[in-house]
């Protein structure tokens, strides 16, 4: 199993906690997925903290490690302050760092991301940077103190899958020893399997499960996809070829013409 900042995690599937039809369905999806890490957020409270308390009680029941995010932050200051509040609220140095650069694509702002990653790493955070598949940016993030890379598969919530397979393969090849999680954009278990076949260490998704007609079933589907992809990667797949080659031996074939 992969290790992130020295912590071995029990599954290569990580799930978000947003958009589920009900708390019970969220819990069921986590049970059937086997996910060991749940992404969480923090938001303004309007009812004296009861909604937050209820949600926190639910997460604790799941028995998973939490990965707080800085979702919705568009500036370095905003992301850093949010991370500081998240560290206290969730009692973890882990932070999924999002610094959004574009409102429509939710593409990371590479410059703000790097600056925030450096500030937070220097302050003892263990940063999971939500980044593009840009290898130069990845190198800078590692230099800034990140020990994990979290490239997007596609824009958040789109379900488009892996829109830049070449970029992800290049990133994996350039940083073979760095724990890598494909985050965002996955819509189907086959896309998770494809990511795992490339040798990434884990995948993180939310909407594809939460917005499915049967979230718990989809969660299990993703778990199986992740497992299938990992097995395929470890099994050293055959090289594709252009010309056909018979699977069945030709020698010994009956002569019937």
């Amino acid at each position: 199993m992969p290790r992130f900042y020295g912590v071995e995690v029990p599954s290569r599937l990580m799930l978000g906690t947003a958009h589920y039809p009900s708390p019970a369905i969220l819990a069921d999806a986590f049970r059937r997925s086997g996910a060991g890490i749940a992404t969480v957020s923090l938001r303004r409270e309007a009812d004296g903290g009861q909604a937050g308390a209820d949600f926190w009680a639910l997460v604790r029941q799941l028995g998973v490690r939490v990965l707080p995010n800085t979702a919705g932050c568009h500036s370095v200051c905003e992301a850093v302050t949010t991370a500081e509040m998240a560290r206290e609220l969730f009692d973890t140095p882990w932070i999924k760092l999002e610094v959004i650069g574009h409102a429509d694509t939710l593409q990371p702002d590479p410059f703000g991301l790097l600056e925030a990653a450096r500030i937070l790493s220097d302050d003892g955070f263990q940063v999971f940077p939500y980044t593009t598949e840009d290898a130069v940016l990845a190198d800078r993030l590692l230099q800034a103190g990140c020990e994990v890379l979290m490239p997007w598969g596609a824009p958040i919530g789109t379900g488009l899958g892996l829109t830049n397979v070449y970029g992800l393969r290049t990133l994996r090849a350039q940083f073979p020893e760095v724990p890598m999680i494909v985050d965002a954009g996955l819509g189907l278990p086959s896309q998770a399997a494809m990511a795992m076949e490339m040798g990434v260490d884990a995948v993180l998704l939310n909407t594809a499960v939460a917005k499915a007609g049967d979230p718990a079933a989809m969660a299990e589907g993703f778990a199986r996809g992740v497992e299938a992809g990992r097995l395929a990667y470890l099994a050293d797949p055959m090289e594709p070829r252009d010309m056909a080659t018979p699977s069945t031996p030709v020698i010994g074939k009956a002569f019937l013409a």
């Binding site: 947003a18 303004r44 409270e45 903290g49 009861q50 949600f55 500081e84 609220l89 909407t207």
Partner: protein, 65 residues
């Protein structure tokens, strides 16, 4: 005096941050705070006195992806 709490103008009776949180119903709740966009750790709330017009943010655990 009037401050802004989570983007909404609020009239408060006390100026000490712990008292304000208690008055707003957060005394025993799992919250994190920031004043004027600066994080205020729980251990430092005792030392914060709010001024008129200050912006107080109170956040709690929520669903996220």
């Amino acid at each position: 005096m009037k401050i802004t709490v989570n983007g909404v103008a609020v009239e408060i009776r006390n100026d000490a941050l712990p008292a304000v949180l208690e008055d707003l119903g957060y005394a025993d709740k799992k919250v994190a705070t920031a004043v004027n966009e600066d994080f205020v750790p729980a251990a430092a709330r005792d030392r914060v006195t709010l001024q008129p017009g200050d912006r107080l943010e109170i956040v709690t655990p929520r669903q996220g992806g």
